[in-house]
Structure formats: C-alpha cells, structure tokens
Symmetry: C2
C-alpha cells in the first residue's frame, strides 16, 4: 500500500543499540515533539499530555538515577548485572523523551463530567500512546533509533524532584534514543485474520 | 516541518458531518486497518488489539442498536432528541471501525509477569490509542471523515452477541466514517511551552 504514513510505521522498531552521536539536531527533535504533542487528539480536546526532552548530562542523570534505584530494589548484585547492562545501553544514547499525563486536568474532567469519571484516565493513556508512537516514528525518520521503557512508578518521585516538574505530571513512559548501532531483532506477527474482521 | 507524517497528522480532525458515499474502496479501507494493526507496537509484542470493520447494513445496525439502548437508559423523550440526532449523524456515514483489546491476552500476561500486573491493562489502552490514531489519519488520507465515539460499555454485550465476537474482546472505541459533508470545527491549542520542556 503506497502511503507514507504506513511506510514510516513499518520502519519504526525497538532499537536497543544506540550511541551518543546526534544524526539530527536538538532543534529538530524539539520540533518533532512539539508538533506531535500539538496535533495528537485528546478526549474533549483536554490536551492532557506533557513531554520532557532530556539531553546531555540530564539524559545521563536519568539513567544513573534509575540504575541506583533498581540496585536498591533488587538488592542482589548478581541478579543486578543484566539490569545494569540494560540501563547502561539506554544511557549510551543521545537523549530521552519522558511522557507524562497531567492528572490535574484528568481530575477536573472527572469532576465536571461525572458520567465519564472512569473513562478519563483511560483516555489519557490512549492519547499518551498516540504521542509515544508518533514521536518514535518521527525519530526513526530522523535516523534515530529508540525504544520504549517503563521504569515508572519506581522513578517518579526522583524525576519530579530533579527537574522540578509539577506534582500533577504522572510519568507514563521513557524513550531513550540515539544513533542506531545495531539493527532491530526479528519480529513475529500473528495471522492478521485473527485480529481484524470485516463484516458487510 | 517537512514530514509527511506530521502533515497527515495535522489534517486529521473530528468530522461529524458524513455521508454514505464511499470515496475509497472497501478493500483499501480493510488494507489500511490490517496494515495498522500489524505494524503498531504492543508491550512484549503481545498484539492485544482487535478491530472489526462494520459496513453496509451492519454499520446501520450498530447505530440503531446504540440509539435504542440510549433511549432506554435516558428514559426521557425530550432529553433524548439531541442524542437521537447525534446517533443519526453517525449512522449517516459509510462504515464504523470498532476497536477492541483481547483481555485474555492481557490476563495471560498478568499471570506470566506478576511484577507488571497493573501495567498490562494500561499498556493495552496505549496500543489501542496508537491504532485508533493511525486508522483515523489514514482514513482522512483516503478522503474520508471520521470521529471517535465511546458508547462502551453500554453497548458491549449487544455488539458481542450480534457479531458473535469472542467474549474476551473488550470494546474500547467506535469510529464512524464517511464522505465529509461539513468541515471540522475550530480547535484551540494550549501554548506548547506549557506542554513540552527541553532540558539540556
């Protein structure tokens, strides 16, 4: 199917081998994120999503922080070795995109529209997913490899403190990225007819 | 920014005025959905998302069903008038895309990876959001207008029964689409600097 959106979607993969070489520019990465956050839809146009782009020493700091937290939680140096390696591979990248949802807005919506109370947190996750995918896809188009990590809620408090973020910003995902140094792994697909039905 | 993905994203809007004229083909709409479902990522490559495309009489049936359910719930003919009009406008479209998540897979993941138990339903919503956005954007590129509706869980049981869908498929959203007969409304945007921070 000849669609640039589908072509871009196909090329987006989880890239774990990344380096600090920037094959794009900071301005362009910022612009990708801003355009995505602006144009991805949200329920009632509530614009709940927030994004923080960490670069340079701040990117490194995030992964050092995550590593020390995990070391304490695991409390077993032998078992920690694999985790250590994994975190170092994220730190080897150029930057990290942090995805948040502003829970103050979610709570306001819940108060205003009691009928949909249970739905607003769900819809916030859906809009966050949309933003994650588009940023990921656009980073790939810039020649950058990325993957999606979830060390929340373990690191939430530290992240909020370190970068003085509003307490209402709930961390949803972390996307380390950099110049790809290794290709993506194999990916298996279920038969599509088990996933999509056309009824006419 | 010259990116076909961003350009496509910008053009995607909520279109409420739609007609039954098909400006694309059923095969192409099916292909859009299949490619999207195949290539959108999911946590642990769990491929939890399911999609049903309702066309023709089945599309009409969905909205008739939804209307009758709402009529009973509201139990007030005067208040129901607006709802009636809204549902009729969705029924005026060419088809509806139903988005589901397979909760059997989510439960299996929860059993297998107890540490992430609470996360799998959240990640299922995130991958569903990704698929919703890409389908919406690609329908727009076909010249079709769409909007995203949430009459779940009110209609879940009827939908499952009517189209004999697995009980584990949880309805997440409904996307009626058709040839646009009226432009999108105005959209307001928060200042982007309140939503995106770059820290370097």
């Amino acid at each position: 199917m000849s669609s640039p959106v589908i072509e871009a979607l196909k090329k987006r993969r989880s890239i774990y081998g990344i380096s600090k070489e920037n094959v794009s520019t900071d301005e362009r990465i910022q612009q990708i994120i801003e355009e995505t956050v602006k144009y991805v839809p949200s329920s009632f146009n509530s614009q709940t999503s927030r994004v923080v782009l960490l670069l340079g020493a701040n990117h490194d700091k995030l992964w050092d922080m995550t590593k020390e937290t995990l070391r304490k939680v695991m409390n077993n140096e032998e078992a920690f070795k694999n985790t250590d390696q994994k975190i170092e591979s994220f730190k080897s990248g150029y930057g990290t995109v942090l995805f948040f949802e502003d829970m103050d807005i979610v709570k306001n919506l819940q108060d205003q529209f009691a009928l949909y109370k249970d739905n607003f947190p769900v819809w916030a996750n859906q809009t966050s997913g949309m933003i994650q995918l588009i940023v990921w896809t656009l980073l790939e188009q810039e020649g950058l490899g990325a993957s999606l990590q979830h060390y929340n809620p373990l690191i939430d408090e530290q992240v909020q403190k370190e970068w003085k973020l509003p307490a209402s910003w709930k961390l949803i995902a972390q996307m380390p990225f950099g110049k790809p140094t290794a290709p993506a792994g194999e990916k298996e697909f279920m038969p599509i007819e088990e996933r999509v039905k056309v009824i006419k």
